[in-house]
């Protein structure tokens, strides 16, 4: 849908039954809380953390990885050096620059409390914020947004995947995927809006979708690549570009959840080149584009890049890696205190591995999520423990993440 027509935009602002129902005072408040943004990028399929952030100096790294092992820093196609003994994959050049500018922090050997090896359960626990798959029906980001002051417009946008579990729940959110079809007349939209009155599923969904489209489309759309899904390589950048437009619009949402598919590398994943390298390069380019497109908003934005779990330390029989445990997560943004590795590092010694095969997930991703929610949005640790995360004993928020 294109929103070139000014009457459409006028209609949009009226359509936000949400916007009509709130006072000017609440709108102003919404703007101030919306200034601090959190972007959660979920790499679906389990990114190989040991390929993205290689512990190249660990004596067990090269034997276990075999032909998946990356070369030493300084060698041809060698890892890009970061902390002592660790290097980024050679295709992660933007992230390396952010590390050197002390704006990228890394949490390695990290996972949600989930210890099975199912993608679907793993993503569910990553997103529901508890410790059991399908133990909660809503997601931690949605519950966190519920603690922020009420706003006139949706507090979050889902990009790529329209209804991620992490955003499901009672706090309204909107969603966006790349456009493919022609314009719908205003009159039809108005009549359909009437017809949906009272339908609790369809009415809010339509209203929010129209507002979100208006946000993207009122700015130039020529740069948007069309017809690329969340799994395509060029598609990653399409999604982060849209996220930047929606987030940086006046009154734009405080959170975006971007789903990037395609990380399940069971076979022939390659090392410095090959299929995983291409995907990492596309992720790197998409994050670079997010920074550029957010402009000054980047300084108020914290980006978390996480995946449901890591992959086996050893290469499998088919040049790939199977489902594992500890993975790698990135934290970046204009005010992130970066240039450092967070958490603990268990090493790759066989005795240190989980079940003798996987990087031990000694760091709970929820500590990272809670730390960001605490320092970026000012949510209290007690509320994070009792209302946002649950199950067993939710970990304390990591401190000192944001300057």
């Amino acid at each position: 849908m294109t929103f070139s027509n000014p009457s459409r935009r006028a209609l949009m602002s009226g359509l936000g039954g949400l916007a009509l129902a709130t006072s000017a005072g609440q709108l102003a408040f919404a703007r101030s809380t919306g200034q601090k943004k959190i972007v959660l990028v979920i790499l679906r399929g389990a990114m190989d953390g040991l390929a993205a952030v290689a512990p190249y100096a660990d004596p067990h790294y090269r034997p276990a990885r075999g032909r998946l092992a990356l070369s030493l820093p300084g060698e041809v196609e060698g890892v890009l050096p970061i902390a002592e003994g660790f290097g980024l994959h050679p295709r992660l050049e933007f992230l390396h620059a952010e590390w050197r500018a002390a704006k990228l922090a890394i949490l390695h050997a990290a996972c949600s409390p989930y210890r099975g090896r199912s993608h679907f359960d793993g993503q569910d626990v990553l997103e529901n914020g508890g410790d059991t798959a399908f133990g909660l029906r809503d997601g931690w980001m949605n519950r966190a947004l519920g603690l922020l002051p009420a706003t006139a417009s949706p507090k979050a946008v889902a990009i790529g995947l329209a209804s991620p579990t992490v955003l499901r729940g009672s706090t309204p959110y909107t969603s966006w995927t790349p456009p493919t079809q022609p314009d719908v007349p205003d009159s039809t939209i108005a009549r359909l809006t009437d017809l949906y009155a009272g339908d609790i599923l369809l009415s809010p969904a339509l209203a929010m979708a129209l507002e979100t489209s208006a946000l993207v489309e009122t700015q130039a759309t020529e740069g948007l690549e069309r017809r690329r899904g969340a799994g395509g390589l060029g598609g990653y950048r399409t999604l982060t570009q849209a996220a930047a437009r929606i987030l940086s619009a006046p009154g734009g949402p405080a959170a975006a959840v971007i789903s990037l598919d395609g990380w399940d590398t069971h076979a022939n994943q390659g090392a410095a080149s090959g299929s995983l390298a291409l995907r990492l390069q596309s992720l790197d380019a998409a994050l670079a584009s997010l920074k550029q497109d957010l402009g000054s908003t980047w300084h108020d934005t914290v980006v978390i890049v996480a995946t449901e779990f890591g992959r086996t330390v050893s290469a499998n029989g088919t040049g790939g890696t199977d489902h594992g445990a500890g993975g790698a997560a990135f934290l970046l943004g204009g005010s992130v205190r970066g240039g450092r590795m967070l958490g603990d590092w268990p090493g790759l010694a066989p005795a240190a591995l989980l079940d003798g095969r996987d990087l031990s997930p000694v760091n709970d991703l929820r500590a990272l999520f809670a730390g960001v929610l605490n320092q970026q949005w000012g949510l209290e640790a007690a509320d994070l423990r009792s209302k946002v995360f649950s199950g067993g004993s939710p970990p304390s928020p990591l401190s000192g993440l944001i300057a």
């Binding site: 209804s163 017809l195 979708a209 979100t212 291409l278 029989g317 088919t318």
Partner: protein, 468 residues
């Protein structure tokens, strides 16, 4: 007098009413559905000459030969000087040939869906095809999903779950999709000589998705043991053909020299069988496992009745599965006969595929051109045979009724209404599609619309047509 039961039978349990489907039924709805689920013919796409597994294998073999000669694909040093987009384009040519091979299946399946009187049987095909997902989302499986659905699913829905499982697991499409074709027993003759090793992807998904389910009580050790038992099942490609006497090139084959020797233990039972009999014995036990019955029952009730299925119905389906050792016609008959199937106050929110097919059935327009189909499936977000993961497409309103999804349906409806040649007024079409389920408010909105296009858009987007 058209009853609500007729609407449920045709719209919720089937693929949606064509004009005339909701006229007074000549037999009871339940009998009509029962006949469909016991007739092997009802599950087939009639009158089509579509390719088989060995033709798909030949197309894949051609692709692999072309790929071996292309630096952009084989990952040599030159690759790094190309942008991701340029690399994608270099891959695109050989890939396109496989897509062209696979596409007639998408067209045939859609045209069949639009015209078939056996909507219930066809929805069962969709259900089982999704349960045993093979997606054309990786190069190796591009030519296969349509072939797989016709060969492994459609032909096995009037027998037992066990036969269906064996047909699915041993089909070349599944062996390729879940990496089994490359898995080698480390202690096998070839494994010892050439190296290589286990890939546990198929073993894990058989347990997690196809049979007992993720809470079915298996451990990592069970996954690895099943993976060992499955070694040997692969594709009879050029190099392996000499080791598989009698095998058809490109078809699946059991190659003893790849099989991990020794007894296996899965879910507490030991399997001393040799060769391919070992995995067959394990799969047959998994197919009989009560946890499999319950897993299938929950999914079936969720698909046909409600996102949170009625517990009584789930119990009845589970019991049927266990009592009959997974006899599929009995299971499907239990679904028809249970009273909860016919009561679901909120119904099911249509998936994009349901919405598209039911719209085309309701309007009775000419079948879309292939190009229009590609655009429609892409825009609505559910391209056949391209499910996002081995778990298949989601099956609940929370996944399909997001803000953006509604907008995409509206945009497609607008494009379609602008192009279809209607033989009836939009209100007549809505009455024919929804019968007594059509609401007064929708009637009013369609009547007041300013054009036939707008009237049709409102009918297709109405709350009752968005649900089944």
């Amino acid at each position: 007098m058209i009853t609500l039961e007729a609407v449920t039978a045709v719209n919720r349990l089937g693929l949606g009413a064509r004009q005339g489907d909701l006229r007074d039924p000549s037999q009871t709805e339940r009998e009509a559905l029962a006949q469909q689920c016991s007739s092997p013919q009802a599950f087939l796409i009639p009158g089509q000459s579509l390719p088989d597994r060995t033709q798909a294998g030949a197309v894949l073999a051609t692709y692999l030969r072309e790929r071996a000669g292309s630096p952009a694909i084989s990952g040599s040093d030159r690759t790094m000087t190309l942008s991701p987009e340029a690399q994608q384009e270099a891959v695109a040519g050989p890939i396109r040939k496989m897509l062209q091979f696979a596409f007639p299946d998408v067209v045939a399946r859609t045209h069949h869906a639009i015209s078939t009187p056996n909507g219930f049987a066809e929805r069962l095909v969709y259900f089982w095809s999704n349960h045993f997902t093979v997606a054309g989302t990786k190069a190796l499986t591009l030519p296969y999903p349509g072939v797989f659905e016709r060969e492994a699913i459609r032909g096995h829905l009037t027998g037992s779950f066990s036969e269906l499982l064996l047909a699915v697991v041993r089909h070349p499409a599944m062996l390729l999709f879940l990496d089994q074709a490359q898995s080698i027993g480390p202690g096998s003759t070839l494994g010892k000589r050439r190296g290589g090793g286990l890939n546990e992807n198929l073993a894990r998904e058989i347990l997690e998705l196809h049979t007992v389910g993720v809470r079915g009580g298996y451990s990592q050790a069970d996954v690895t043991e099943l993976a060992r038992a499955l070694t040997g099942w692969t594709i009879a490609g050029e190099r392996l053909l000499p080791l598989a006497p009698g095998a058809t090139p490109g078809d699946s084959a059991f190659i003893a020299a790849l099989h991990e020797p020794g007894a296996r233990k899965v879910l507490g039972r030991s399997y001393a069988e040799a060769g391919e009999d070992q995995a067959v014995a394990i799969l047959k036990d998994l197919a009989r496992n009560p946890a499999t019955g319950r897993h299938v029952a929950v999914k079936l009730a969720t698909h046909f009745v409600a996102d949170r299925p009625p517990p009584d119905l789930v119990e009845a389906l589970t019991d049927s599965f266990i009592m009959t050792e997974g006899d599929l016609p009995s299971l499907h008959r239990t679904l028809i006969d249970h009273q909860d199937t016919w009561r679901s106050p909120d119904g099911k929110f249509k998936s994009p595929n349901d919405f598209l097919v039911s719209s085309l059935r309701a309007t009775g327009g000419a079948p879309p051109l292939p190009r229009q189909l590609v655009e429609a499936y892409g825009a609505l977000g559910q391209v056949p045979f391209r499910a996002p993961s081995p778990a298949g497409w989601p099956d609940d309103a929370a996944s399909w009724a997001g803000a953006d999804s509604i907008l995409k349906r509206l945009e497609w409806s607008q494009a379609y209404a602008g192009q279809v040649t209607l033989t009836e007024r939009p209100l007549t079409l809505a009455q024919g599609a929804l019968g007594p389920a059509l609401s007064g408010r929708t009637v009013e909105a369609v009547q007041r619309s300013e054009s036939a296009v707008e009237g049709l858009v409102l009918a297709l987007m109405s709350p009752e047509f968005q649900r089944r």
